[in-house]
């Protein structure tokens, strides 16, 4: 029996390893010295780590000593938010304890939860809303950022709807008020051009597994002379900013993943955009009563979020899965909670639509044939679900 077709369209969740990264990981497995050791084994490991750091730094227009490796995007984001609340006397950001945080209503859960925690500890946190396309509402944002603001954190590209923010303008507003600016660029780095100086950010988070690197490795950009306070203490690694023996294999693999992005990103993202637009057009013409969520142009090339009236997201996801197609949903039922996606709701789409939202996120291994197969299967799945739905009156 022929192997059933399996197509991965969930590249914003994570990505398959780039073949070159795989090779690099295999050879990096031979490097076992502790990068902190002075002997030749240590020095060998150190040189690999520093080479990777150079790749990361160069790719985002930073200098190497501004890059700190972390174990995940979530760790990076938590680290940056935690500097606002440290009460240690020695901490550089200590003076900012009484200052406020401004973020948005569509951040990744790690920023949402970390900011909620800061709020519970007594810090003032403001959430800037977004418009129907998921763009931060500038006027409102301007009002929220004041002389009391210590830090502003706005994600560069949204993981669910793909909308890309105008980070340069936002950071300009923050700096004009004397606030620091952080961007969670986990979904942006390696998909769209990112240059920390163009963007004018003080902190930036990126992650390996979203760009064909392995899980468990990420990096944070910390602008030179920015105040900083470690989240993980107890070692001199990463210039004393993050304790713990370096994840040599992960770091080397991240360096390679980024090196490959530097070579392939521009061409490949053009291809992803073409596929996305073909998918958008295909859905628009074959399925009635749908809503595209996310900015039509300022958006990640491979991300398309669609909500289907009268069809619940988890059911769509699982029927597609049975046909070998892997996607994700903003429905409550799939998340284990009872609330649908906070991002979809923040764009103003009603709750009943949020339950029917599906995210397609394309990656380097997808082809136009995958899109054709999806466009063959999807209308049938939606028709089938709507056929048994109380929430969809057939309009034929």
């Amino acid at each position: 029996m022929a192997e059933k077709r399996r197509i991965y369209l969930d590249n914003n969740a994570t990505t398959p390893l780039h073949p070159e990264v795989k090779k690099t990981i295999l050879s990096a497995m031979e490097i076992y010295g502790n990068p902190s050791s002075l002997h030749s084994f240590g020095r060998q490991a150190r040189s690999h780590v520093e080479q990777a750091r150079d790749h990361v730094a160069r790719f985002i227009g930073a200098s190497s000593d501004e890059i700190m490796f972390v174990a995940s995007g979530s760790e990076g984001n938590n680290t940056i938010l935690s500097i606002l609340n440290c009460e240690c006397r020695g901490c550089e950001f200590n003076s900012c304890r009484d200052r406020e945080l401004v973020t948005t209503t569509i951040e990744h859960p790690c920023i949402m939860e970390a900011s909620k925690c800061l709020k519970e500890r007594g810090m003032k946190v403001h959430y800037a809303g977004v418009d129907a396309d998921g763009k931060v509402v500038m006027d409102r944002f301007k009002d929220l950022v004041t002389g009391n603001t210590g830090l502003v954190s706005v994600m560069m590209a949204n993981n669910e709807i793909g909308t890309i923010q105008d980070i340069r303008t936002l950071s300009g507003i923050a700096h004009a008020k004397g606030a620091m600016f952080h961007t969670d660029a986990v979904q942006a780095v390696g998909k769209v051009p990112v240059d920390v100086n163009d963007l004018g950010v003080d902190f930036l988070t990126l992650s390996g597994h979203k760009i064909y690197g392995p899980k468990g490795i990420g990096a944070v950009y910390i602008r030179k002379d920015s105040p900083f306070c470690p989240l993980i203490r107890g070692g001199h690694q990463e210039r004393g900013r993050r304790a713990g023996t370096e994840n040599t294999i992960g770091i080397v693999a991240l360096g390679k993943a980024i090196e490959m992005r530097a070579l392939e990103m521009v061409e490949e993202e053009k291809r992803l955009l073409q596929m996305k637009e073909a998918l958008r057009e295909g859905i628009r013409t074959s399925i009635p009563d749908i809503h595209f969520v996310g900015h039509p142009t300022d958006s990640l090339p491979g991300t398309l979020n669609v909500s289907f009236d009268g069809a619940e997201g988890e059911a769509i996801l699982l029927y597609l899965d049975l046909e070998g197609l892997a996607v994700s949903t903003g429905s409550a039922c799939a998340s284990g909670s009872l609330d649908p996606s906070h991002v979809i709701l923040a764009t103003g789409l009603p709750q009943e639509c949020a339950h029917g939202s599906i995210r397609f996120s394309l990656g380097r291994e997808n082809t136009m044939e995958d899109i054709a197969y999806l466009l063959d299967v999807l209308p049938k799945v939606i028709r089938r679900i709507r056929g048994m739905s109380t929430a969809y009156a057939r309009r034929q």
Binding site: K4, G310, A311, E312, G313, E314, A315, L318, L322, G324, S331, A332, C333, A334, G336, S337, L338, D339, P340, P350, Q351, E352, H355, G387, M388, S389, T390, A391, Y392
Partner: protein
């Protein structure tokens, strides 16, 4: 297709892949009773229609429609099979637990998806009674689900009041009632007043009016 490690049992998967007794042509179906429950804002809603052999008091057919996830679809599908040929009084007694058991279990966070099916069925049976002049048989449930989002019953509200909850907020803290769509708030406030009076005042009051599910 590799389907190992599904969160769902084979039975759930089977009913999801091949749902039984979908109400395809609503207009043509000659129903003896109809019940609908749930809310599309909360992400699930179910409609159940039944045909009854009036001489024998037996449900001869049951069809349904569901807006919801895989476990909601499977729950209504399996329910429609369970009640065919069942005495109407027995069908009335079906609980979410019976449905979950028939499905071989559901993940814990999915249990609330199964509670709407039996509720819709009871609504359909009540509707059947009403249509056939048997108002006396219409029963409100012993434990009635007040908040269908969090699957909270009037019994749990009563317990919480006995444990000291005196405001809607305190009830929310204790039971999570009304923390999702909030549609049940008025209902909960009525129950709160009633149980406060029942247990902590000497005022005798009738049970608050219950609407058929």
């Amino acid at each position: 297709m590799e389907l190992t490690n599904w969160a769902y049992t084979d039975k759930v998967l089977d009913h999801f892949m091949h749902p039984k007794n979908i109400l395809e042509d609503e207009k043509a179906y000659k129903e003896d009773g109809r019940g609908i429950t749930g809310n599309i804002k909360c992400g699930d809603q179910m409609l159940v229609v039944i045909q009854v052999d009036k001489a024998k008091d037996v449900i001869t057919d049951c069809k349904w429609k569901t807006f919801g996830c895989a476990s909601a679809i499977a729950s209504t599908s399996v329910l429609s099979e369970m009640v065919r040929g069942m005495k109407i009084e027995d069908a009335y007694k079906l609980s979410p637990k019976d449905i979950t058991k028939e499905l071989g279990g559901l993940p814990e966070h999915k249990i609330h998806c199964s509670v709407l099916g039996d509720k819709a069925l009871r609504a359909a049976i009540n509707d059947y009674y009403l249509r056939n002049g048997m108002e006396d048989k219409v029963r409100t449930e012993e434990a009635r689900i007040v908040c269908s989002c969090m699957n909270i019953t009037d019994h749990e509200i009563e317990e919480a009041v006995l444990e000291g909850a005196r405001t809607f907020y305190e009830l929310q803290e204790k039971t999570k009632v009304g923390t999702v769509c909030g549609e049940c708030k008025d209902d909960v406030l009525r129950l709160l007043e009633f149980y406060k009076n029942k247990h902590f005042c000497n005022i005798e009051e009738a049970m608050p009016a219950k609407t058929p599910a």
